[in-house]
């Protein structure tokens, strides 16, 4: 199965206080174990732009789609046999990036 590991940022504490090299080491481990699909950190949510073409012509709006105290700071897409494996990875991911990490299964992968 594929799982999305979402890094949850917090506007009260936006600084990256992960241990130096911890995220790189975790990434290397995912690649060695064959679990890596894709991953990366995102810039500030205020850098986001929202596109909306539902009305026909696209409309572009500055800012994130939802204003909240918590935001998407980065993510990994990993492969894991089951949720127990994904939960173990997310526990290590949280330790590496020193943030909360949400685990969500993909309903399908293109």
């Amino acid at each position: 199965m594929h799982y999305l590991l979402t890094v949850i940022g917090d506007t009260d504490n936006p600084a990256d206080d992960s241990a130096p090299g911890a995220i790189d080491a975790f990434n290397d481990r995912l690649k060695t174990e064959g679990r890596w699909v894709f991953g990366g950190g995102l810039t500030d949510p205020r850098d986001a732009t929202v596109a909306d073409s539902r009305g026909g012509e696209p409309v572009f709006t500055d800012g994130p789609f939802v204003e909240s105290k918590e935001y998407l700071a980065g993510f990994w897409v990993v492969t894991a046999d089951d949720l127990d494996v994904a939960l173990a990875l997310s526990a290590d991911a949280s330790r590496a990036c020193h943030r909360k990490v949400e685990v969500r299964p993909f309903g399908g992968v293109a």
Partner: protein
């Protein structure tokens, strides 16, 4: 009404109840593994039991009811999967399942393990605690959704949604169907035991002003399921400890509530009304754990404390220094203010209420919202003759208590205080 002697199916209801109790979890667990879907397993098991009611009345009870139910439920599940496969044009999947089912039957040992897998899946840490409790009672305990809803004082539709949501998450999120890895096992067993202890406590300390003070169907169910866990994990000290703890509390159930519905505290209970068989079984488990020489966990220490209490023929014979020492041991495992509060109750017996009150007052910050903190303070203040303060503390406790028998007891105690109202 039919004459029970002339009726050839007399006793069938008892047989069905017993078989349901003994076989439900096994049937659900076996099917869940075969079909990889807890919902399919649950529905097929329920259908098989419904069929048994009709067929066994007409044809008699088969020689091996468990095997009959598993086979019948397996056929029902296969029918359903085939039906859905045709509808979804996924015929290939059904053929695959047919091939699996025609394989050799499972050896008994492996089937036993299926129930353990079922327990671990239902108590999985990725599920909300209420969902774990509900799912365990439904899938392992075999209680109906209506019974579980009634036990937890929620609407049946709410409970049905909670269980459906949990089943959906198990499937969609890939919660695995297996006994956890060795290194995760202690934490995961603890998760299963926590669910069973929650069920027991909900029965024992039933909340709600209009609800029975003790709901024996929940305490009984919790004990039955803990016996199953103990049977499946005979070497686990905490499973034995939790079973002993429940038995020693359950033994005092009838003595704990008076005829007029008020709580009777331990020192005032009629010890002759305790269930001697349950006490003996609980004591035997505690002795077994002591003899193992392995360091005890939380439930084993709690069971030992209850063994000291139930060992005294009269409340005055209680070995309070042993109780205090066990609470010290518990505090090292679980340094919570609630443990410190219970330890202070033993201190009151050993060193007097004045010493205990000082220790209790030090817990005010973390326990201000806990009724037992105010009830303990009230009792110590009463024993020290400080009636106005005691009355105030009883009022605080009454404002927070949720159990009908506790409320009745606290009210009486408050009204017995000397001095102006």
């Amino acid at each position: 009404m039919a004459d029970p002697v002339a009726d050839p199916t007399a006793g069938l209801d008892e047989v069905l109840t017993r078989v349901h109790r003994e076989e439900w979890a096994r049937v659900v667990a076996t099917l869940a593994r075969r079909f990889g879907d807890l919902g399919v397993a649950e529905d097929a098991a329920a259908e098989a039991f419904a069929t048994a009611v009709e067929r066994w009345r007409a044809d008699g009870v088969p020689p091996n009811p468990g095997a009959w139910l598993t086979t019948t439920a397996g056929n029902k599940a296969l029918d359903r999967v085939r039906r859905e496969s045709r509808r979804d044009a996924k015929q290939r999947q059904a053929h695959m399942l047919t091939d699996q089912l025609s394989g050799p039957p499972e050896p008994t040992g492996a089937v036993e393990d299926e129930r353990l897998r079922l327990l671990f899946t239902c108590a999985h840490p990725a599920l909300a605690v209420e969902a774990r409790v509900a799912l365990t009672l439904r899938m392992v305990g075999g209680l109906t959704v209506a019974e579980i809803a009634h036990a937890f004082l929620v609407q049946e539709t709410t409970m049905a949604q909670r269980i459906t949501r949990a089943k959906t998450k198990i499937k969609a999120a890939g919660i695995p169907w297996r006994v956890p890895a060795e290194e995760d096992l202690p934490a995961r067993i603890d998760g299963v035991l926590t669910v069973l202890y929650l069920v027991f406590n909900e029965g024992y300390l039933a909340s709600g002003a209009d609800s029975d003070p003790v709901r024996a169907e929940l305490t009984g169910e919790a004990i039955r399921l803990t016996r199953l866990v103990r049977e499946l994990l005979p070497d686990d000290g905490e499973a034995a400890g939790l079973l002993a703890l429940m038995l020693l509390i359950e033994a005092r159930r009838t003595a704990r509530v008076s005829a007029d519905g008020a709580l009777v505290p331990l020192d005032q209970q009629d010890r002759g009304a305790w269930d001697r068989a349950l006490v003996a079984e609980g004591h035997a488990l505690v002795r077994e754990r002591l003899a193992s020489g392995r360091p005890p966990g939380r439930y084993q220490v709690l069971a030992a404390i209850n063994a000291v209490h139930t060992d005294a023929a009269d409340a005055r014979d209680t070995d309070w220094s042993q109780v205090a020492a066990l609470y010290d041991q518990l505090a090292r495992l679980d340094p919570s203010p609630v443990v410190a509060l219970n330890r202070a109750i033993a201190v009151a017996e050993l060193d007097g209420p004045q010493v205990a009150l000082a220790q209790v007052d030090a817990l005010a910050a973390p326990l201000d919202g806990y009724h037992a903190f105010h009830a303990t303070r009230a009792d110590l203040l009463r024993r020290l003759g400080r009636s106005p303060e005691a009355r105030e503390a009883y009022d605080r406790a009454l404002g927070l208590a949720r159990n009908a028998a506790e409320t009745a007891y606290l009210t009486r105690r408050r009204d017995e205080l000397a001095g102006p109202q």
